[in-house]
């Protein structure tokens, strides 16, 4: 490869000079316009930064090659037949390039998200260090506000939402018997938007005036007044959000059009159902958070005054638009986890999912109801008070489909043969902890209680029981469960169990006392607090350090097992779903022969049952008994 082709071909060299070009573009256009209109000063750092934050990532993506094929096609040249040379990863370097293989992208997504989990977790450690005692110890109030704002934004937009997209990216096409996602190039682009959004949020700490410091909610008008660090959130969220929407569209089209023969909707594994529901939520809701942040951007950059009461703006409208996304976002962060749990419980309890159709219907019910509850975040916001009552009722009612899922999982366990390995422990841990998060959620729906505890540590406790006790435990369960499929290696079971118990105990010791603090009157988002809360805060900080350290066990297990764990068989869990019927890791194009689906995904205990067969027209030819799934794994 010549030096010129290195600079002009897609890749990091081109991305680098294109990024510099993007920065110069922002600098040039802003300065030119200001000079043209005679504005003083001609050189405005904030204005340049605003345009640079929007433009540089796009230049970077063009440089990296994210748009190459489309530009080629759009310019009217003859289309190049896809030779699939970009599929698969041959060395670690392939994970740092534009790659259209859903399995590579799935790993890119998952590993990137876990990197942001570690960063977000470290920020939490700093928060807890500051909160260990009343008064200010390590950071000043502005930095503190930045710490919790970046902590929440990173973990929501760069960990929980994308890690589910990553796991599903890897597993979902395999599960429905597809060779890849419907739009592989779009898939690659949606991945590469992610590190851009995350990097932007992290480097905000170097912005003049500190990072964005208005919480992940960025309520106006505070967010239109604080220093320029706020923009790194406002614009970073646009990239993360665009990534979400593209992936969701991709999942929807893949699920609707690329299922294997015989895979009717009612034969889809519940993880597929869960991602179908989640994608509906993402496609409908995410544009609202984009809108709320674009409004903020226009308020900040061009003084539109959407949220400036002095200019006739409406401050409460920000909250309505924001929560119209951000409440469904809670389900975006939970439904894929429900899917993971359904897969694991059926396989590890060796029983069919109890009430499979109700499980699918309850997902759809949550999607619909999820759009009718947003204003329960605004019971004390000063909005029209009558809105509170219908929102309370819908919020309470959404517990019904959630309850159906919980009870169906319990019934799935009943009389099963429970294999209590690491994924199962995390799944059971989720089942109990998520119920607590759900119950505190119903308590928060009760308006008089919410009036007292909103904006207190009770909220902090609730959201961590939902997103840590709920989402994160399902993510750990899923990562352990599919680790053999993704890497072709087995993880260390003993370390996995140690990780579970440290996490489970550390989690409860950290977040359970926060319920008490909140009801007792400690507000959230404060760097300093009254003396009476000192005891519990010290306890929580110590517990949280233990919780943080437990992650090291997980990291070591993942890294060591990926490098040198024992080779994984195709189907170590004796599961029936299609991803386990191919080798670990799967062949480059997933299936050497197109599978035909002949039954439900969870027919455990049904003699001779299989979910998919790999011979054209074959009618369940496999031996009877539990090993049926494993045998059908090897074609011929």
């Amino acid at each position: 490869m010549t030096a010129t082709s290195r600079l002009t071909g897609p890749g990091w060299y081109r991305a680098l000079w294109m990024s510099l070009l993007g920065i110069s573009f922002a600098f040039g256009i802003v300065t030119a316009i200001r000079a043209l209109y005679g504005w003083d000063p001609v050189l405005d750092g904030n204005a340049v930064l605003t345009v640079a934050l929007l433009a540089t990532p796009l230049f970077f993506l063009v440089g990296l090659g994210g748009f190459d094929y489309w530009f080629y096609w759009a310019s009217g040249r003859r289309t190049r037949p896809e030779d699939h040379s970009g599929h698969g990863a041959h060395s670690w370097r392939d994970y740092f390039r534009i790659n259209t293989d859903h399995k590579v992208i799935g790993i890119q997504y998952t590993v990137t998200s876990f990197f942001f989990l570690l960063v977000g977790g470290l920020l939490a450690m700093l928060i807890r260090a500051e909160l260990a005692a009343p008064g200010m110890q390590f950071v000043d109030p502005n930095t503190y506000n930045g710490l919790f704002s970046v902590h929440a934004s990173i973990l929501i937009f760069l960990f929980i939402i994308p890690v589910f997209a990553g796991i599903a990216n890897y597993v979902l096409p395999l599960m429905i018997g597809a060779p890849d996602m419907a739009f592989p190039r779009l898939n690659a682009l949606s991945y590469w938007l992610l590190p851009i959004g995350g990097t932007m949020m992290l480097i905000s700490f170097f912005a003049p005036g500190g990072s964005f410091s208005t919480g992940w909610t960025a309520y106006a008008p505070l967010s239109t007044e604080v220093p320029v660090g706020q923009l790194f959130f406002t614009i970073g969220v646009q990239f993360a959000g665009a990534s979400s929407v593209m992936t969701a569209l991709n999942f929807l089209v893949t699920i609707i059009t690329m299922r294997a023969p015989g895979m009717s909707f009612w034969r889809m594994p519940l993880l597929v159902w869960a991602n179908f529901s989640t994608s509906l939520l993402v496609v409908i809701a995410t544009p609202f958070v984009a809108a709320s942040q674009f409004f903020l951007l226009l308020d900040r950059a061009l003084s539109f005054g959407f949220f400036d009461a002095g200019k006739g703006g409406d401050v409460l409208m920000y909250q309505h638009v924001f929560w119209f996304y951000s409440h469904p976002a809670v389900y975006i962060m939970m439904l894929p986890g429900f899917g993971i749990i359904s897969e694991i419980l059926a396989v590890k309890a060796r029983k069919p999912i109890f009430g499979y159709r109700m499980m699918a219907f309850s997902l759809l019910a949550i999607v619909v109801l999820g759009f009718t509850v947003w204003a329960h975040h605004m019971f004390v916001s000063g909005m029209q008070s009558w809105i509170r009552v219908p929102m309370m009722v819908t919020t309470a009612i959404i517990a019904v489909p959630t309850g159906i899922k919980i009870f169906s999982w319990l019934a799935t366990l009943w009389r099963g043969v429970l294999r209590l390995d690491t994924p199962m422990l995390f799944a059971l841990g989720f089942l109990t902890m998520f119920v607590l998060g759900g119950i505190s959620g119903v308590m928060l729906a009760i308006i008089p209680i919410d009036i007292h505890v909103s904006d207190t540590y009770f909220i902090v406790a609730h959201i961590h029981y939902v997103l840590f006790g709920g989402s994160l435990l399902t993510i750990f369960a899923g990562v352990y469960y599919w680790f053999p499929k993704m890497t072709g290696r087995m993880y260390d079971e003993r370390l996995g169990k140690i990780h579970f118990w440290l996490t489970f105990v550390g989690f409860n010791a950290t977040f359970a006392p926060m319920h008490l603090l909140g009801v007792a009157g400690m507000p959230r988002r404060v760097a300093d607090y009254a003396e009476q809360f000192a005891g519990w805060n010290m306890f929580i900080s110590i517990a949280s350090f233990g919780l943080g350290l437990s992650t090291l066990v997980f990291l070591y297990n993942m890294a060591a097992s990926w490098r040198g764990g024992p080779r994984a068989p195709a189907n170590p869990w004796r599961a029936l779903t299609l991803e386990w019927q191919v080798s670990s890791p799967p062949p480059v194009f997933n299936f050497d022969a197109v599978p035909t689906v002949v039954g439900g995904p969870y027919e455990y205990g049904v003699p001779g049952a299989v979910h998919g067969v790999f011979k054209e027209g074959a009618e369940v030819p496999q031996p009877v008994g539990a090993a049926a799934g494993a045998v059908s794994a090897r074609k011929e």
Partner: protein
């Protein structure tokens, strides 16, 4: 398992009710919120215990034993009756709970013709309380401390000068956001004499954690005495050169009434706030006029390393002239060594 579940539920409810959840209750609303809380606990704790007991029972009873590695469970696909039951019962419970809540909500937000109106104004990072029905000179009586007569229904009209704030007295259990452009309302009937914190519960910037004031609930007679003491024209004391009578205690104002110590470090007062500049350093060698201007008009000269609009600009209104004199004297004395 059923017996175990029932026993565990009873124990769980007993523990949940035994926990002293709330801070002291100081309003009629608080009593109703607290009993609603207990009802919610009685309903919800058994649901958690039920799930927990079933999970633990399954783990104990149905776990895979050695030799069962290839065994499967029975192929039970569902049970319509059971599914109807666990859809209907939670739905009924929740609808019932919501209906009951509706009545509680109606009760705690009752209007009263006899209510006393207090205008609450939030700004970064302090509160001002004004009593439109009580005149002090030509203007309504205003104060940085909230005084409320016991057993009188109060309507707070809440406004803000800048960003969102939230007016909350945990002992009253009621809170409401202060929203730019509109006036929000919250009603409370204080019923216990005492001193309670006024807390800002909505993130409002760097000084959010220090945006605290004090609410005093006092007997009606004492409230009238307080009103009269605030109405007295300030001229008399000022003319006397601040001499003798009621010499306000500068240190008490610094740490208490004005809340300076929340943001400022001052060695003599033992405060360590970091939101604003360290007064031991920035006031060193400055005269009283400078100190007075920095309190009344904080934007005039801003210490290096701090942004504008962080310190409230209302101390000129909320402190009486005597208090201001005392505070200036105190700061001058402590920082000039």
């Amino acid at each position: 398992m059923l017996t175990l579940g029932v026993l565990a539920s009873i124990a769980g409810v007993a523990i949940a009710l035994a926990i002293d959840w709330f801070p002291q209750s100081a309003s009629t609303q608080a009593k109703k919120v607290d009993s609603l809380w207990d009802i919610v606990l009685v309903i919800s704790v058994p649901i958690f215990i039920l799930v927990l007991v079933v999970v633990l029972f399954c783990v104990w009873k149905f776990r895979q034993r050695p030799g069962e590695e290839l065994k499967d469970g029975p192929p039970i696909h569902g049970n319509t009756q059971l599914e109807v039951v666990w859809t209907a019962i939670p739905a009924l419970l929740l609808v019932g709970l919501c209906s009951y809540t509706f009545f509680v909500l109606d009760e705690i937000e009752q209007k009263d013709p006899d209510e006393l109106v207090v205008n609450v104004t939030g700004e970064q990072f302090t509160w001002t309380f004004a009593y439109p029905s009580v005149r002090a000179g030509r203007k309504p009586l205003a104060s940085s401390q909230l005084y409320l007569p016991k057993d009188r229904p109060i309507r707070f009209n809440v406004r803000t000068k800048d960003v969102l704030h939230d007016f909350w007295v945990p002992q009253f259990r009621m809170k409401i956001d202060a929203v730019p452009g509109i006036t929000t309302q919250v009603r409370v009937t204080p019923d216990t004499v005492g001193r309670y914190p006024v807390v800002c519960a909505e993130l409002c910037g760097v000084g959010h954690a220090t945006m605290r004031q004090v609410a005093h609930v006092v007997e009606p007679g004492e409230f009238q005495r307080w009103v009269r003491s605030r109405q007295r024209p300030a001229g008399g004391a000022a003319a006397g050169g601040g001499g003798g009578q009621a010499a306000a205690d500068g240190r008490a104002i610094f740490t208490g009434a004005a809340g300076c110590g929340g943001c400022h470090t001052l060695a003599a007062a033992g405060t360590s706030g970091q939101t604003g500049p360290n007064l031991d350093q920035v006031l060193k060698g400055e005269d009283k006029a400078f100190i007075r201007e920095s309190i009344v008009n904080p934007g005039a000269k801003i210490a290096k390393g701090f942004g504008p609009n962080i310190m409230p600009e209302n101390f000129g209104q909320t402190l009486t002239p005597q208090e201001l004199n005392a505070l200036v004297d105190y700061l001058s004395k402590e920082t000039q060594g």
